[in-house]
């Protein structure tokens, strides 16, 4: 028994070391890793590049990613007179009860906006294609602010461009700026990112599980995205929102998990999926699939 425990512990250490080596040498892009440089907002995770409108600059940084997997990716504001803003956001579909279809989301947004007193729907939800992605577009206005939301689904996230101006012409100019949105993916080349799949971190997929030790605060839902290699090993652990202590123990524990080798349509595939972790009173750990 003692020999077995020592062997298992040793194997675990090797796995941890291998995982850390892999992640250190090739850090995977994260949804909130986009930056503005040389007039371009570039986001490697979503494969998008957006030419910042002339006269705009990065605004205040947004909040940390939320417990529901919501990200403020970038805020762009005019360098001079404050006449319009651009908010680029993403909602991880593994962790929120929202439609996973761009048009359904645009319609739901329209319903929500129409319920606000004085808010006018200027342009009902309609499909548009930008940078090769199918977006849902919604225009609405109230109290002198003219707004457009363009939303699309990428890698199991709803990515949205939220444009606001204090004139119709200003909004039109911001909408036109989306012509500068391009997909960084090279046409014809195979996509390198893992396939996103909901609810693939459950017990029936697991071969080896290591529980993280409980860390404060308890009863807080912690959203985690993991990338599972075609061999079933965990290649990346992205703890989206947690305390620093929780983040560390979860990264170490989940890096040791092993799954059945994932397959898509019968072919081995690298996938990314999500799960929610919650530390409970008494040091127990609860998992849920990250599904809705």
């Amino acid at each position: 028994m003692g020999w077995l425990l020592r062997t298992c512990a040793c194997a675990g250490l090797i796995v941890v070391a291998a995982w850390h080596q892999g992640s250190a040498s090739e850090p995977m892009p994260r949804p909130d890793g986009g930056v503005v440089a040389n007039g371009i907002y570039a986001n490697a995770y979503f494969g998008l590049r957006y030419a910042v409108p002339a006269g705009f600059r990065p605004g205040l940084a947004g909040p940390a990613p939320s417990q529901s997997g919501y990200y403020v990716l970038a805020t762009l504001v005019p360098a001079k007179e404050f006449t319009g803003t651009i908010l680029i956001a993403a909602q991880d579909l593994f962790f929120a009860a929202v439609p996973d279809d761009a048009m359904a989301t645009a319609r739901a947004m329209a319903d929500a906006m129409a319920r606000l007193p004085g808010m006018a729907i200027d342009r009902p939800p309609e499909p548009v294609t930008l940078a090769g992605h199918a977006f849902g577009r919604l225009d609405f206005s109230g109290v002198g602010l003219f707004r457009s939301t363009f939303v699309t689904a990428i890698r199991c996230h709803l990515v949205s461009f939220n444009l606001t101006a204090n004139s119709r012409a200003g909004r039109a100019a911001l909408v036109a700026s989306l012509d500068g949105l391009v997909d960084a993916h090279v046409a014809g080349a195979p996509r390198a990112e893992p396939v996103c799949v909901k609810n693939r971190a459950g017990a029936d997929e697991l071969v080896r599980k290591v529980d993280p030790p409980a860390r404060h605060p308890a009863f807080t839902k912690i959203p985690v995205r993991i990338v599972i290699g075609a061999d079933g090993n965990v290649k990346d652990v992205h703890v989206i929102r947690a305390s620093d202590e929780q983040r560390g123990v979860i990264e170490r524990a989940l890096g040791q998990w092993k799954f059945k080798p994932p397959a898509i349509d019968g072919h081995a595939a690298e996938i990314e999926t999500g799960l929610t972790i919650e530390f409970r009173a008494g040091g127990t750990v609860a998992y849920s699939g990250g599904g809705r």
């Binding site: 001079k80 908010l87 709803l158 605060p217 308890a218």
Partner: protein, 462 residues
């Protein structure tokens, strides 16, 4: 009619409320730049007239009303060390304290409210022979404040309340020689943050909303939030995992817990929830603990046996639980009504949610009551500008509960530390790096001046 022209007409209805803005408003704004050259806006100021708060919930039964009335009186009790000083009959003050009665801090615009215009902490510091030094952040016309230290001397996280005053020197505290913390040094080390009292009106309604009701309300306007960079999460009890909802960081589970903690922390009165003194010096212990207990005999004869036999903290909680929500101006003026529309359109209501509904209640007439606290009672990241770097439960140093805005029209001091008396400044202070409110404040900045002013008129109507 263009929005701008319509807004200007509304402004005319307001009767020329708009005035020249103090440049200091803009000095404090971290970003974005205001529309220079346009007429600016100003806080109409604390609304006068009747308090619109402090009475009981509508629909209570006779016994509940009697309990409320007696509890309101108990709430105004003034404490001394052993209850032996005339007019200060409450028992248990100190050894360390911030004030000597609940009603001293919860006073504006009526008993149960928040920080009054004249700070009672100035007088209480020297009461009955005490010779406390007034800390540099306490001013005669400033907010009532408690102080928390961010770090312990060894650098680990503190976050706890460090009371301003000690009973040393008081006529009823002979032999006690403890000293105040060195607040000036802690200030110099940037180790002090402040909190002001939260109003207690209508908290029974808040307590009466189920966890599911809060979660549904948070999810209900998720599409509005998604366009504004807003998410939010609840704080939870470390004991049973349910949602906690009281206090600046929603760290307290119930009004009873809130009352028990405040009685011990703010006044130094040990009680059945917090039965031990925080100050260990035995030369400053004058009473058996807990100092506030269930009364086994009735010495009050208030007309409410429930109140008479109950401890102070149960009475304090009953006062808060059975008090009515603050009443807004009714009917709202046309400008205020337009301001309400601005409030919802620019996204304020994404966090300061308009309505909640109570679940089935044990109190008469309080089931299924829809009310407007103007808060989702969730935690939101408020950025570096408001961060106090104190964690409480699941709330980190940047997170705060959406402050309920009911009654804000009659409040004097704003934000968790009472840093401003100017609503415009309070609004703009919501924006800083890392804040969920940035997009909403950007929307505010892009409004026409008349629309901004209408928003302020609406807020002062609450």
């Amino acid at each position: 009619m263009s929005t701008l022209r319509r807004s200007w007409r509304l402004l005319g209805i307001a009767g020329g409320l708009m005035g020249a803005a103090a440049l200091s408003h803009f000095a404090s704004a971290q970003q974005p730049a205001p529309n220079f050259g346009m007429p600016q806006v100003h806080d109409p100021g604390v609304r006068g007239g009747s308090p619109g708060a402090g009475g009981p919930l509508a629909g209570l039964g006779a016994a509940e009303l009697a309990f409320f009335t007696a509890a309101a009186n108990r709430f105004q009790e003034i404490d001394s060390v052993s209850g032996t000083i005339s007019g200060e009959n409450g028992v248990g003050l100190g050894p360390r304290f911030n004030s000597n009665g609940c009603g001293s801090c919860h006073q504006q615009p009526a008993v149960g409210g928040t920080s009054p215009a004249v700070n009672p902490q100035i007088a209480v510091a020297k009461l009955d022979g005490a010779h406390n030094t007034i800390p540099p952040f306490i001013h005669p016309h400033g907010p009532v404040r408690e102080a928390r230290f961010v770090r312990n001397p060894n650098g680990t996280a503190d976050g706890g309340v460090h009371d301003l005053f000690v009973i040393t020197g008081r006529s009823d505290a002979s032999g006690c020689h403890i000293q105040q913390p060195d607040f000036a040094a802690e200030l110099a080390a940037h180790n002090v943050i402040f909190r002001i009292p939260t109003p207690l009106f209508g908290l029974g309604l808040v307590e009466g909303v189920s966890d599911l009701g809060l979660e549904n309300a948070l999810a209900d306007n998720s599409f509005l939030k998604q366009q504004l960079g807003i998410a939010g999460q609840f704080n939870h009890s470390g004991n049973d995992g349910s949602i906690t909802r009281f206090g600046w960081k929603a760290q307290n589970k119930s009004v009873l817990m809130f009352a028990g903690e405040a009685y011990n922390v703010e006044q130094g009165v040990t009680n059945e929830l917090f039965p031990n003194e925080r100050e260990p010096d035995p030369s400053c212990q004058f009473n058996g603990t807990p100092e506030d207990t269930t009364n086994l005999t009735n010495t009050f004869n208030s007309g409410s046996p429930a109140s008479d036999y109950a401890s102070d903290i149960v009475n304090f909680a009953a006062f808060a639980r059975l008090s009515a929500a603050p009443a807004p101006v009714s009917p709202l003026s046309p400008v205020a009504m337009h301001g309400q529309q601005v409030f919802s359109n620019i996204g304020c209501q994404a966090c300061h949610a308009l309505q909640l509904t109570t679940a089935k209640s044990a109190y008469t007439g309080q089931s299924n009551v829809t009310f407007s606290p103007l808060s989702d009672f969730a935690l939101h990241d408020m950025g570096f500008g408001l961060a106090d770097n104190v964690s409480q439960g699941g709330a980190n140093g940047q997170q705060f509960r959406s402050a309920p805005l009911w009654g804000v029209g009659q409040r004097i001091f704003f934000l968790h530390d009472g840093r401003t008396t100017d609503l415009v400044e309070a609004i703009r202070d919501h924006a800083s790096a890392g804040s969920e409110a940035n997009a909403v404040i950007n929307n505010f900045e892009m409004l026409a001046p008349a629309d901004k002013q209408a928003l302020l008129v609406y807020l002062r109507s609450l």
